[in-house]
Symmetry: C2
Subunit: 314 residues, 2 copies
C-alpha cells in the first residue's frame, strides 16, 4: 500500500484456492505463482472505464458494471467520491473457469491499484468488501473465500458476508501446496448447481469435526491431525464427477504421500497439501493422471504463506 494520491498504479493480485477441503465457502489460500495485474489511472471522465484486457483471457466485458474489476472499482468510487474517474488496464494471468479465483484476483488487483490513487486510501477490510462486489458479477453471489486470500495472502478464513471478518491462519511449516490445473473450463455457476441444498446431520457432524481439527492442526503444526481431518465429506463427492479423472488424480496425490487432496474452488483445478520433499513427485503424479486422459495441465508446488495482493508500480 502507499500513502495514496498516485496518478497511476499497478497491482498484482495472486490466484487462490477456495473451498479448501473442509472449508467450503469460508477458507482459501493464495497461489502466488500466477495472478492478474491491473493498472489504474486517474481519468477525467467520471466513473470507471476499462481501456484494455489482455493476457490469457481477452474475451471479458469492457462494460465496467459487468466486469469484476470494473464493478469492484465502482463500489470503491461510490464510497470514496474522489472527484475523478478511473481507467483500468487488466492483464489476466489466471485462466477463466479454472477454479483458481481469476475473477476474484481481477477485482482485488483493481481495488488495490485504484486505492493508491485516492488521497485517503481505504484499509484492507474495506477493499475486501469492494472486491466482493466485483466478484459477485462473475459468480452471481457474494463469496469471499477467493477474494480474501488473494487480498491478504496465505491461508485465510473469512467469517460473515455482510460484515466479513478475516483471520489469517498459520500454514503448517514444511508443507507445500500443490495445484494442478487441467485445460478444461468449468463454470462456477454449473459447479454450484449440482450441490444439494441440505446436508445430512451425520455428515454435518463429521465435516465440522474435520474442520475444527484442520484449523486446530494448522495452529499446532500437527501433521497427523491434518491428515486425519483433511477430507471433505460433503461438497467433493457432489462435484467430483464434473472433473474427468478426479478420483485417479486424488489417488495419485494420496499415494504420493499427500496430507490431503481436494477440488480447488469449484474446479477443475485440484490441490493437495504435501510435505515439502514429496511435493515435486506429487505434482508429477497428478499431472500424469490427467495426461493419461489426454488432458494437458499445468502444475505448481508453492509455499502456502505468501504476501497477497500488492502494488508493483505507482
Amino acid at each position: 500500500m502507499t500513502a495514496g494520491g498516485a496518478k497511476r498504479a499497478t497491482a498484482f493480485a495472486p490466484a487462490s484456492v477456495g473451498n479448501v477441503g473442509v472449508g467450503f465457502d469460508i477458507l482459501g489460500f493464495s497461489l502466488d505463482a500466477l495472478g492478474d495485474t491491473v493498472t489504474a489511472s486517474v481519468s477525467d471522465a467520471q466513473g470507471v472505464s476499462i481501456t484494455s484486457i489482455g493476457g490469457v483471457v481477452a474475451d471479458l466485458p469492457l462494460d465496467a458494471a459487468r466486469n469484476t474489476a470494473g464493478r469492484a472499482v465502482q463500489a470503491l468510487l461510490e464510497r470514496a467520491a474522489p472527484g475523478f474517474g478511473v481507467a483500468l488496464q487488466i492483464d489476466k494471468g489466471i485462466p477463466l473457469g479454472s477454479g483458481l479465483g481469476g475473477s476474484a484476483a481481477s477485482a482485488v488487483g483493481a481495488v488495490v491499484a485504484a486505492n493508491a490513487l485516492l488521497p485517503s486510501p481505504f484499509d484492507k477490510i474495506d477493499l475486501l468488501k469492494f472486491a466482493m462486489q466485483g466478484e459477485a458479477v462473475a459468480s452471481g453471489a457474494l463469496h469471499v473465500d477467493n477474494v480474501a486470500p488473494s487480498l491478504f495472502g496465505g491461508l485465510v478464513l473469512t467469517v460473515g458476508v455482510d460484515n466479513p471478518r478475516v483471520k489469517q491462519i498459520p500454514a503448517p511449516s514444511g508443507v507445500r501446496a500443490v495445484v494442478v490445473h487441467p485445460h478444461l473450463f468449468l463454470a462456477t455457476r454449473e459447479a454450484r448447481s449440482v450441490l444439494s441444498r441440505s446436508v445430512d446431520m451425520s455428515d454435518f457432524v463429521w465435516q465440522t469435526a474435520n474442520l475444527a481439527g484442520f484449523i486446530s492442526a494448522c495452529y499446532t503444526n500437527d501433521l497427523d491431525m491434518l491428515r486425519e481431518c483433511f477430507e471433505d465429506v460433503i461438497i467433493e463427492r457432489q462435484r467430483q464427477s464434473l472433473i474427468p479423472g478426479f478420483a485417479e488424480v486424488r489417488a495419485a496425490a494420496m499415494n504420493g504421500g499427500a496430507l490431503g487432496c481436494s477440488i480447488s474452488g469449484a474446479g477443475p483445478s485440484i490441490f493437495a497439501w504435501v510435505e515439502e520433499q514429496r511435493a515435486p513427485l506429487v505434482v508429477a503424479a497428478m499431472q500424469a493422471q490427467f495426461a493419461a486422459r489426454g488432458l494437458e495441465s499445468e502444475g505448481w508446488a508453492v509455499e502456502i504463506e505468501s504476501a497477497g495482493a500488492r502494488l508493483i508500480e505507482s
Copy 2:
C-alpha cells in the same frame, strides 16, 4: 495416573459441558466444580460388580452391563484380562438429566480408578474408548463430547468416533465459564429426538464459519472474534423450546456482557463464556431469570482450563 497394581483406587471425574455452541457433538469443556467419584477395588469374583451407588442420584442400575460405569469397566477388562474382577462404588455428584455430562463422568471415573488396579495401565486414549462404551449405555449411541473433556480436562475437541483423536484447545485467557443448572430433568434421548436429520446448506456454511472462527479465536485469544462466532445457528434453535425461559436466560447473559451463551449438552443447563470480572453478575442474572419462572437453580463461574479426571486415592 499411577504405575498401576493398586488393590483399591478412587478417582474423581468432573462434570462437563458438551455441544459447546458451534461444536455440536465434537466440542466440550470440563466443569471441575462438580463431578462423580468412583472407587474401584480388586474382587475375587470375575467381571464387574457394583456394590453401591450414592450421592445426588441413587436410582441407577446395579447391573454392570446397564450401568455406564459398569459397562465402561467391562470394556476395560475385556481388553486387559487381568485375572481378577472389579467392584465399583459410585458416588454421584452430578444430577441426572442436567446436561452436565453425569453419565460420562461416571464412566470416566470408573475407568480411571479401575486402570490403577492393572499391572500395566492403559493410556488415556484407550480409557476414552472404554468410557465411550459406558456412556453409550445412557445416551444410546457413542458420543464423546462429554467423555473427552471429563477425562482430559479443559476445552477438548474430539475428531472421529471409532478411532477418536483428541485435541486440547487453549481456552482464552481471562475468560470464565458460567454454568447454570435449573432443577429440571431433560432426557438426552428426548433432546436428540427433536433434532432435524438434515441441515440447510446456508446454515451449514454459517455454522462452519462460526466454528472455524471460534477455534481460531481460542488459539489467538481473540475475544472479538469469539463473540462474533459463538452463535450456534443449527442446534440451539431446535432445542431451546425444551428449556423454559431459555431465551430470557440467554438474553440476561448477553446483556451482562457474555461473549456467548448456549445450551449445555442436551440441556437444561445453560452455559456462557464471559470475561472474568463480569462472571459473578452474569451468573446472578441468569439465575434470576430462572427464579422468575419459579425454577430453583445452581450456578458456577469457573476457569475453563482444568485438570480432568484424576486419582484422589490409591
